[in-house]
Symmetry: D2
Subunit: 140 residues, 4 copies
């Protein structure tokens, strides 16, 4: 598709790293290709969900997975897309100190709707969580 080649990595990176909450999380663009994206982030202590600070909040993983799915479509469409729904499966907890890698992949890109998958792994390459999201491509 012609239009997918128009989205350069600089645009994807700017859209990823400018929003306030993305900056607070420290999201980094590792790689962008048409329909696929890799994003990294480091788990700080202030992201923990329990009284003992032993594991990272599932909402952080959900956020990272949502962003990865969204940006898989961004690589083809060049604009951020509203998430319509998101489903997350938690497989193993993330720990403070973990460097997380999220890979997002387009499953289907339609004129009004897009589906994308996302996987988060830790530094050992263990899958921590997987997600599938539905995004609105109508505004793109």
């Amino acid at each position: 598709m012609t239009e997918t080649s128009l989205v350069d990595s600089e645009t994807v990176e700017r859209l990823l790293t400018t929003p306030a909450y993305h900056r607070w999380l420290g999201l980094e663009l590792v790689r962008a290709a048409p329909g696929e994206v890799e994003i990294a982030m480091d788990c700080r202590d202030e992201l923990t969900a329990d009284v003992d600070g032993s594991y990272v909040h599932g909402g952080i993983l959900a956020t990272l997975l949502d962003v990865a799915g969204d940006f898989a479509l961004v690589t083809e469409l060049g604009v951020g897309l509203p998430t319509i729904d998101l489903r997350v499966d938690y497989l193993r907890p993330a720990r403070p100190g973990d460097r997380l890698l999220a890979v997002g992949t387009v499953v289907r890109r339609g004129r009004s709707l897009g589906v994308a998958d996302a996987v988060v792994t830790n530094g050992d390459g263990k899958k921590l969580a997987v997600a599938r999201g539905l995004y609105s491509t109508a505004a793109a």
Copy 2:
């Protein structure tokens, strides 16, 4: 059930407001009853997801919904529960400045698994997002 009466609001509030990420979000316990909980939070500018800072990140709503579903079960079990999976439907964007109210309700509490629903509304009472989560009750 006898054991549900053992979880007092102080315990629920301590579990809610002690974790680092919950404190950063500013989660507040509004009300706790057996199988139901209400949690509030204010949307700061640093929670926004777009370049213009016009709307709050969906991952924040996912986090709040996850916590509300989890704490609906906490009111009956007295300990935080691992989320197994979570499904979020986004209905309307949250805006910076919004005060969000999340209501979590137990759908089913089994010996090893619990299902809970959660709804987030804004100050006008508009539904912004709904979720359903599956939680592990085995450790409780």
Copy 3:
């Protein structure tokens, strides 16, 4: 809304009971009101999923829940709607001989998308499964 009053029960019933697979399942319209519908079906032995024929296939419950969510929107829109995605939680097995009652309720009806909830209970009023579906309202 004016248009919701235009969908009479006869139209809803015809849309429900004409399709071939609905007839094979024996779906019956119990009640239709704007945004809400009740559908019944009897569980025959040929719907079982295990070697011993002891429980009804989860796919049957998924189908009934999907239809209930869809027809909650049909009561307002007067046409069948494509399901975009569906999420089912199984709480208890249905048994051959059970008479199932499915209640579908509109969560949100937008111009292009609708969200509906559905619950299936058995004759004892026990919840067997719950679902939430996203439907395309664009063609309505």
Copy 4:
């Protein structure tokens, strides 16, 4: 894992083709390997969901996806597993006359819970629907 080699294709096929509803659907085992399974079925006219009989009921796809995910785990565990929850994304309608192929793959197999993915394609190799399910492995 030693135990995965104990599940021979005959056992998988017997578990797949004996249940009454599976027989009615005409499910066929195409291939079974540890953690992966392929299942085929033909779409008869009586599986249609609309008044015109133009497309196959989404509940049929949901059933096929559920079975494919379940049997991906059956190839490793040798017994049918209860579905805890299932999430289906519909991408394109199936038509009467289509021969469907469902591939199920294990995402994670734990002691009490298993996650599996499933994809249904038609004879042209087009993806019609994808799903992710959570299954109870506790009884296996």
